[in-house]
Structure formats: C-alpha cells, structure tokens
Subunit: 198 residues, 2 copies
C-alpha cells in the first residue's frame, strides 16, 4: 500500500508540473523511487493511473448529517475548495479530468461527486429543505458542473486564492432556486466550518 500511495503522489506531482499528456511513466517511476514492476503491479497503464488519481478525490469524507443537510452540502463544497488549494493529488485529478475532456475518451470528471451531492440533496428533500420543483439528481449535476467552471476561473485568475469567495458567490446565486425563501436566512453560503489559515 505504501508503494501505491508513493506512486499516486509522484504521479500527481509530475502531472501537476507537466500536464497529463506530457507526463511519462518513466518520470513517475523515478520520482516515486519504485521499480517499473512495482508500478505496473498496481497500475497496468497510464490510463489506469490517471483513473486512480481521479478516484482519490472521493476518498474525502461526506459530512455526517447536521441539523441542515443543505448546509452540509455547502460546507462540503468549501472543504473540497480547501483541498483543491492544498492537496496535489486532488489538483492533479482535476487537471487530468479537464485536459482529457478534449481527447477521444474523456475520463468523465467528478462522477463520484455528482453521486455524493445527489444523495445529500435527496436527504435534504426528504427533510423538506428543498423546493418541491427541485430534482436532486439534476440539481447535483448542475451544481458540480458549475463548481468545475468556478474553480477553473479561480485557478486561471488567482491560482485559486479567491476560490472560497467564488464558491460563496455560487451558493448565493443558486440557493434561491433550491430552498424556500424562509429557509435562506438560516443558510450560510460561505460555509460553517473553520478554515485553516491561507
């Protein structure tokens, strides 16, 4: 397992520096200080390695239910934002997902996040937190797509320094379409959790 993790971190670093297409298995082996055989034992191809880096994204914990499941989604989105700023593996996963969008077989990004958010929205609806017109699956797909664009803009303009601010703006704009008017004042678009210092 230590070899596997070393390869994932090395792959994330190399992809982060060179991009997905230019990253080579040879450089990842060198960086991870593992043998070729050890790498191929865990990951039979570069594609398999890329999928594993993307899958690491979903190792993140889904927050336990609080008094508001909708607020839990907001908080979760800010935790992901913080991880996108701090974690090279998550950054590389995003880069692979975006860069392969234009190739013949895109590694469709963020599918696991769409499932997580769909489940949380479904729970929020069961608790009466969502407007009746909201379809949890469609809303989750939109929120995650939108989030993808927002974090790309943040990356391009400020190297993600303003990501929390942009995610807060996303929720300010989307919440009125998700929650009844009376519930809006009880929600915190900037998230409830304590951030580490930047």
């Amino acid at each position: 397992m230590r070899t596997r993790q070393a390869v994932l971190v090395a792959a994330a670093q190399v992809i982060g520096e060179r991009g997905y297409e230019a990253a080579t298995i040879a450089e990842i082996i060198h960086r991870a200080q593992v043998t070729k055989g050890a790498l191929y034992f865990h990951f039979p191809s570069k594609d398999a390695l890329a999928r594993a880096v993307i899958a690491e994204q979903t190792e993140m914990l889904v927050p336990p239910p609080s008094d508001s499941r909708l607020q839990d989604v907001i908080d979760f989105s800010h935790q992901v934002a913080q991880a996108l700023r701090d974690d090279p593996v998550l950054q590389a996963g995003t880069r692979i997902a975006v860069e392969t969008t234009f190739s013949r077989e895109p590694l469709v990004p963020y599918q696991d996040w769409i499932e997580i958010v769909t489940r949380m929205f479904t729970e929020a609806r069961e608790r009466g937190e969502l407007l009746s017109a909201v379809n949890p699956a469609k809303a989750a797909e939109f929120v995650v797509s939108s989030y993808m664009g927002v974090q790309l803009f943040s990356q391009a303009t400020t190297n993600r320094a303003d990501l929390h601010e942009r995610v807060t703006s996303l929720w300010r704009h989307i919440l009125p379409g998700l929650a009844p008017p009376g519930a809006l004042s009880h929600l915190t678009p900037s998230g409830r959790w304590e951030r580490h210092a930047a």
Copy 2:
C-alpha cells in the same frame, strides 16, 4: 485579411486536433497554405495567434434589446451554445482557454463575455428586471464561470450533443436568484430563438 482568416481557421483546426501545446506553427502554415512570413506578419508568436483565436469568440453579435433584457441574455447563451457546437474557431478558443488554465501565464478565458453579460445585466437592472440584491458584475462572472463548467461536462459526456439541455438547466437553477418571483413565469430558460436542426 483573407490570409489572416485562413490562418485563424487553420490554427483552430490544428489546435482542435492536437491541443494547444502540441500544435505547431509549421503545421498551421502548411494547413493554411500561406508563407511563414505572411503568418508572422499577422501573428508574431503562437501566443499572439492563440489570443486572436480566443478574441474571435467575441465577434459574435450581442442581441439587440427586446422587451426583456434578461431573456436576451438567456437567448444569447443558447446562441453561444449553438456556435460551440458548429464553429471550429470557437471550439479551439475554448480549448486554448481551458488548456492554458494550468500553465504559468493562463490566457484568462471569456473576459469579453463577462463584460458583455455584465452590460446586459446592468441594462436589465435599470429596467427593474433583477432582484435588488443582485450585483450585475458578480452575477455575470458567476454565470459565465458556471457556463464554462457546464459546457465542459457536456463536451466530456456527449460531445456537446446535450449542451442546450444543460444550458436550460443552468437557467432554471439560477433565474430564481436573479429575477423577482412574478417575472419567472415570463422567462423561457430554453431560449426564444429558432435553432438549426442538430
């Protein structure tokens, strides 16, 4: 001017096939059937050429004011969606913008679209079409960022076949945060314009 246009179209084709990093000036010259001198007369570097491809995006007409400026923005977004499906230059512009997001000097995407939408939202507010809490510049920045993510997901999952549907979903989710409740039933999230057959 004909040389300039031939180079832009050739650049768009080559970038569309190979990606921004892998596209070479030599191949673009060959494809455009122009001389090296002619290309460099119009575009002194690959970077200048990339910026010109991106700038072509904004040659699109801003719709003239109708009875609803907010509906005009919706219609405009569907026109851009149609162009993203049909126009290789626009497709290449998006690809460059996304692919250079991770490089040291990103060509910040869609700045001109943010300006256009800011202007249209400002006009909508002057006509009383927006909720008083809405800031036109922030709303425009969010809508364009969100649109970027939505079109990337559409590209990755269906090669943009479902782009109009996803843009319609975007507006369904965002409009309640932009317009007063009474105005929502008069707006058409799927756009008012006639689409060409797919």
